[in-house]
């Protein structure tokens, strides 16, 4: 006879608890959940409570706030962040990278020097691998330089997946078969995995963009891809993120945002650059 699982009844999240959680999560991550996300937030908190065996919100929230190693908080961050993406998303920016941005970046560089690119947030890795594929396939000077790609996210679970580099065919539907064949292998269950050499070429790190202590080692980048992150932030966090990107970039470095995001509305730190392929932002040289 099967032993029934212990059913812990999870109480609903009260308005007061929701507000308390929202303020805390915002202070920790810069992500502000509006009231219309209430259902999404409640469900994920309750799911975390259930899997951890917590009987009430207070007990759970105390653990999130005061656990010394931050494991519960990290699990909550992982549950709350959105990670839906695919290869070659907003491809026009990748075109812009190889046709306009990089030629400008290397104008005063010598062969053998290093170009640094930061993909942040990198989610499950589609963006940094897309950048790598694109450079290898479409930038004629790719062999002239050392290219460092650093890929970061606040969510440790997506980073684990990113390092694994394993994707369903839907994720690679916009990549040519030829490119997929060169840089991915098909697994027995019909998924595609990025080849070892390429996976090892990208440095995956966990960081919180609005935490000045965590991000202070991210410096000297020539290009930052920060797409579809700022839309989850309120104005204050957006400004802080812009400042973090500014300090991470070398003078003259570029930042690419998502198509619905505009740095001009956030900060005056950057200059607008209109290239034929895309509008990007540049740190003054």
């Amino acid at each position: 006879m099967a032993v029934p699982s212990q059913n812990v009844s999870i109480p609903p999240i009260s308005d007061e608890d929701f507000l308390k959680f929202r303020e805390y999560f915002y202070r920790k991550t810069g992500i502000m959940f509006q009231d219309n996300k209430r259902y999404f937030v409640d469900k994920r908190i309750q799911s975390q409570m259930e899997s951890g065996g917590f009987r009430n919100f207070r007990q759970y929230f105390d653990r999130v706030c005061f656990q010394s190693d931050g494991v519960e908080l990290q699990a909550l961050v992982n549950a709350m962040t959105v990670n839906e993406t695919y290869f070659y998303r907003e491809e026009y920016q990748l075109k812009c990278l190889v046709q306009s941005i990089l030629p400008e970046v290397v104008k005063n560089m010598h062969s053998g020097e290093t170009i640094k690119i930061w993909s942040m947030p990198c989610s499950t890795g589609e963006e940094p691998y897309s950048i790598a594929f694109y450079l290898l396939e479409h930038w004629s000077r790719v062999d002239d330089f050392n290219i460092e790609i650093v890929a970061s996210d606040i969510d440790t679970e997506v980073l684990r997946k990113a390092k694994l580099g394993l994707y369903a065919d839907r994720a690679v539907q916009y990549v040519s078969q030829e490119t997929v064949g060169k840089y991915m292998t098909m697994t027995r269950d019909g998924k595609f995995q990025v080849i070892d050499d390429l996976r090892k070429s990208i440095k995956f790190t966990q960081t919180n963009i609005i935490d000045a202590i965590e991000d202070r080692f991210y410096r000297g980048f020539d290009v930052v891809f920060c797409r579809n992150l700022l839309i989850y932030f309120d104005d204050l966090s957006r400004r802080e993120a812009a400042e973090a990107i500014f300090t991470a970039l070398s003078p003259g470095g570029f930042v690419c945002l998502g198509h619905s995001e505009s740095m001009s509305r956030i900060s005056s730190l950057f200059e607008l650059r209109k290239f034929p392929e895309a509008i990007v932002y540049q740190k003054p040289a």
Binding site: I147, K203, T205, I213, R216, E240, E243, A244, T247, S268
Partner: protein, 204 residues
């Protein structure tokens, strides 16, 4: 394969614990001639809640972009800790800085309202006017009563006029009498009588 593994210098896995950061270096870096160093120092100072240090630097910072970064950081610190040193800057002769400080205080929310309210006792009537002008942005139910107290007590006509403007927006019908009393108190100032009539018409 031309792509190389990123060096550990560019991105370490874990940041150092807070205790190992040299806080004295932050103050030193704020004086740096290098903009990147100054911005990084501002962000770290904010992370440690160093509102006074940041505000002192704000008064000296000439780069408008860095001023913006400083103000963002002070909003993030928020509360009384950031509001007090900022309020001290309201007396500056630099109009652009003063306006930026006012906007920053206004964005800090209701928790700094008591600090603004305290400025209504300041001997400098200009500071009292700034304080009254800021009241509306706090959207607090206490604002009408604070403005009412100003029109009943403040000896300076321009401070009272600013409070009349506040009451025109958020006053209640029972406050009309107090408004008229203020007009009577400054009967030699026709512009105040005019403002009171307009306010009374709106809320009466």
């Amino acid at each position: 394969m031309p792509l190389i593994k990123a060096s550990n210098v560019s991105a370490r896995k874990k940041a150092q614990p807070v205790a190992t950061i040299d806080r004295l270096a932050i103050a030193r870096d704020l004086e740096s001639l290098d903009v990147d160093t100054r911005i990084a120092a501002i962000r770290l100072a904010a992370r440690f809640g160093e509102a006074e240090l940041l505000t002192r630097h704000l008064a000296a910072e000439t780069d408008p972009v860095l001023r913006e970064t400083l103000l963002t950081s002070l909003v993030r610190i928020g509360g009384v800790r950031a509001a007090r040193p900022l309020i001290a800057l309201l007396a500056t002769d630099d109009a652009s800085l003063r306006n930026a400080v006012i906007e920053t205080l206004q964005s800090m929310g209701e928790e700094v309202l008591p600090e603004i309210e305290a400025q209504l006792e300041n001997q400098d009537s200009d500071l009292r006017i700034y304080a009254v002008n800021m009241l509306l942005s706090f959207r607090s139910p206490r604002v009408p009563d604070i403005a009412l107290r100003v029109i009943a007590q403040d000896p300076h006509v321009n401070v009272c006029a600013a409070a009349v403007d506040v009451l025109a927006e958020v006053g209640r019908p029972e406050m009309v009498e107090a408004l008229q009393a203020a007009a009577a108190r400054f009967s030699d100032q026709p512009f105040l009588s005019f403002a009171v009539r307009a306010a009374a018409k709106r809320i009466g």
